[in-house]
Symmetry: D2
Subunit: 355 residues, 4 copies
């Protein structure tokens, strides 16, 4: 099966290139008779949209979504939902220089090697612009989970470079343009981003994810554990280099006697597991950390080769994010929603529990 | 689709419970006319087998594999390969105490909640004994990749608790019973394990993975990126809490100008990417780190509830590993081989390149 | 997995309702670097298009296809190909009467029962208009197979009501508006269709399929036999009630000594098998017959119930085909192409044979 | 995906060669907490078993099934159910002659062409012996459907050569060794089979299928229509050449005004549709006809070629069925059960209706 589809029962297939006509997706398998409006989707797209802050990419895309099929009289019909987002501010001329060069840290070289051809305009299919379709699809899952389970998914940034949120305040992130979980560090971040812009450089970041009110029993042993499917979904986001559930890599130095979460009649004593045991949700919050690399599209020149393997240097002009993770929180939430929604339907299919 | 299958074209479905009659799997889609002997599989099983060292579980399983189908006159026929490993040393009596209690850090509670029933004997399907079938299936992929691409996959332990391999010497690990990548630390590890045994406790660890001679072009954008499918495969291994590709979480504090791997005609200048760009293999070594939690099966009592949600305490007797990661290196290698094999066939299917 | 996708490696997902904004599909997994132009697809759409003859539906759809993604500089890139066909002549007012009634022989009742909601406009998703997206996707497969294997797929009508093509002349069908395989019967068919139009009735038909130059070795034992996947594809076409490979139902009265096709060094002696043995193509022509029921959308009143299960009668006005099979030959060819293309890639993936 | 798996949520993967060690399957996705005993499966296997009548194959297989996993304390656990049936009466020496020759009407030639190797013993994987695993898996589905929906599936033979059941009496078939639906024709059939045995020939037959109490709403538009998935399942059975739903090929000569099934408040007026409209079950009986070719394994010599493409003749000795359809009714029922079960879970997954 080609790789542009995710999910088994709630199934999302995306299409589109950064500088092509449009981005879009088909969401197949959505439960019928569920109220869905354009606004439900547009709301999430606007959270991811570029051009809204001078700290993110200046590409100005309206990112207006159209529902082409699958919704009738304001409700889903059970038929595939087709979503379309036209590209309006694609400036392919920005990329004419890179037609014959491979940008380091990008998919230029690997796409050419794999397919023998590449749509070099803006990175084509490899561009993070593809994620606009994920956010659109995820918005449907997010609404369904919220309305049927009170399930809430929230991603925030807890670290940008060496600036660390301490303590992590989920609610703080809602109110700032960095989606950062510590309001006391906003000036430091603004200074850092401004400095990076000036230098033409970029910075990595860590995103923290909390999903609350997740029903017990989601996840399929043994390969499609809930954590495994989440890891797959998150690692499929552009620029992600690491994913960790619950206590994550801290487990390496921990002892079993302290790490296992003891159980009391009213609750678990702790949540090192991150809400998942043996691949199945426990009902506790699902928590995770996700590492985003610094964008490779920067103005500082780099050594590379051209398509004839001759040495050269390259500068990526375009309009880019100094810290891609800032806009990525909406993507992390969307991917989480898609996976949880899929597993909700899978559990209902096999074991019949109604949500 | 239920969760006991992995892979699209090289497709592995496992079955079996820890204390049931047998473990096994069907490997479907293996290329035909490929030499395969029992010994090829047994060799890998023996690397994972318990009861071989007094630093690992004392359960003594012969782990003798039988090929029930799919091989004729020493070669694969293209038909599904069925592998069977009988359970011989299952002592279900060890588990009679836990029939009515949920072990913290285990799947007891979540399996019961999901299915309304659980095979409590040794953890049933949730036991890491399930991975014996993965190692058997992975052995087939491993041999094929080695014979056809010189592709070599090696996992080692680089950290146990606070004991860190420095420098990492891949070859050192081959010659010690801890699969540890630094021969100077073996005494320290032996002491730690001995101490843990005495205390009835366990410890976490980090596994490092290197796959070399990976063909360029493996991986399917956008959801089934090679790193995403590997993350899925690794995160599906019992006890894994985090996975990181290349530089992993170190990217959080890095700048784009230093993190992107510059390209020279003869090679990349570095490998922060871990051998994968935009989800597609670059031809560099694939490198990754995987965090294993300390086993929850320990002798130190823990608070928990019984199946009526009454508070109680539990002690896990059985025969367990103080550091599960030690035997897990063979599992990490197997899962890596299965994913790479699958993507090799997928690339050949779509784009026709012969290996 | 929801049902709007077909194929494993050449993978088509369609969307759209008869009277919605647009029909379309995503074709994922198409080999890269393959020349593809709008005209290649439009040519096949025009063969299926309504409003071209006064013997078929008078709905006038331009059926103009747009390629939204997956093609760059005239070639496929390996990325998903997104195709869009806007609906331009939808007259939903034609269907206001049926909003509260179930048309016999249609999906109105079953969609309502399954989903609890239905897009009643023109049958919504259940309309044969959905097949426009299949023909568009099939055009890609058809071109690839023709260019790479000289593989040719041709469907013709061999029977309409009691009018039987005898002998069957494949080439005759190309030159007449009934796609009928016997030029001597055209007047009789024209008379029949005219009579049916006057009476407001419809008639069934049989389509014959020949695929020549099919490579040996396509088809996956045991469930995804080539004939099984073709049967699935054909039976998924609206109005199909039966499918038969090679000699089909004639086998019931045959003896093994006459039915098996003897083999000579230069060729098989006969082709009762229809080009497929044990689910795998033999290299002979693949031949099949497919039965299309008479359309249920006719002007003759029928007894039915309304959505409150009260008895009533219904007349389907709209603009319909007296013999739906006439335009369906393009659909049969498209579905055949999709299946053969998929199995070509599957065979290449597992066994590595280049086409 | 390789072809040895069927179903999306109720998922069956089979393995095994005719003269190998064992046949078997993994049934993944079965609802948990469902009572399942060896006898439930053995009962169906006994219906298909050879060596029970002197009118069928004399190969004497005990066909004793073992449940290796997935059942605990008499109930399914939700884990994969592994079933094993050992081969006990394989006489590979019967096939030594055909090692270097291709039997006409068999998969010998196509398997060799596809894989470059074949297990020639008894046809290997292409043997109808493979269906023993299908019947075992189908038995689970059959029991679940019966217990939860009163859903009953029955296949009978309605025609052998020119001997036609008239009228069709479903119950008659239960009481005769030919599974024939007309008790007045049993002597004629016995005479025909005896004659065929003497001549070393075989005969085709037609199987009729009735599934009653099928819930309304099963089937996924548009490709995975219930009839399309059934056609796939039936056409995947060895020797099947044609499948027809409801009135089947009779629709070719029918008019819409007579063919569509009018609807009355209490019921449909007829059932030409065969219980499926627009791919979704109506609640009426699902009815179908399936054509089985005469077996090609007969004693009458046939022209063929050897593996060097030299002309030769071949006689198939072995122990074979003069009319393979007689034992195939259990297989048709099993495949029907698997498809209905799968769609029951799919409908429950998407739309949440409890059975």
């Amino acid at each position: 099966m080609p790789g542009n589809t995710i999910g088994q029962l709630f199934r999302v297939t995306t299409f589109g290139e950064s500088h092509g006509i449009a981005m879009g997706c088909i969401v197949d398998g959505c439960p019928a008779n569920f109220e869905l409006a354009i606004e439900d989707i547009q709301f999430e797209l606007d959270r991811r949209r570029p051009g809204q802050s001078h700290y993110t990419s200046q590409r100005r895309e309206a990112d207006t979504v159209e529902i082409l099929a699958g919704v009738f009289a304001g409700k889903t019909t059970g038929a595939p939902i087709a979503l379309l987002i036209k590209n309006t501010d694609a400036r392919s001329s920005d990329y004419s220089e890179i037609k014959d060069k491979f940008r380091p840290g990008h998919g230029d070289y690997t796409y050419q090697a794999k397919y023998g051809i590449r749509d070099y305009r803006g990175g084509g299919r490899a561009s993070a612009r593809e994620t606009v379709a994920r956010v659109a699809a995820g918005a449907i899952a997010k609404k369904f989970l919220w309305q049927n389970c009170d399930l809430k998914i929230q991603a925030v940034i807890t670290q940008i470079g060496n600036i660390i949120a301490d303590p992590v305040d989920i609610n703080a992130s809602i109110h700032n343009e960095f989606n950062f979980a510590d309001a006391t560090k906003l000036d430091a971040i603004a200074d850092l981003i401004t400095e990076l812009r000036r230098e033409g450089d970029s910075i990595g970041a860590q995103v923290h994810l909390i999903a609350s009110n997740v029903p017990v029993g989601l996840g399929e042993p043994v390969f499609d554990k809930l954590n495994a499917d989440l890891a797959h979904a998150w690692m499929s986001i552009n620029a992600v280099k690491g994913v960790a559930i619950g206590a994550g890599f801290n487990c390496v130095t921990a002892r079993g006697s302290e790490f296992r979460d003891e159980i009391y009649p009213e609750n678990f004593a702790s949540n090192n597991a991150g809400g998942i045991l043996a691949g199945i949700s426990t009902g506790q919050d699902i928590t995770a950390n996700i590492a985003f690399k610094p964008a490779s599209s920067i103005r500082i020149p780099a050594a590379t080769v051209d398509t004839n393997n001759n040495p050269t240097t390259i500068v990526t002009m375009g309009r880019h994010d100094p810290c891609v993770a800032i806009r990525a929180v909406a993507i992390v939430e969307a991917m989480t929603a898609i996976v949880l929604m899929d597993h909700l339907l899978r559990q209902r299919g096999q074991n019949g529990y109604l949500i």
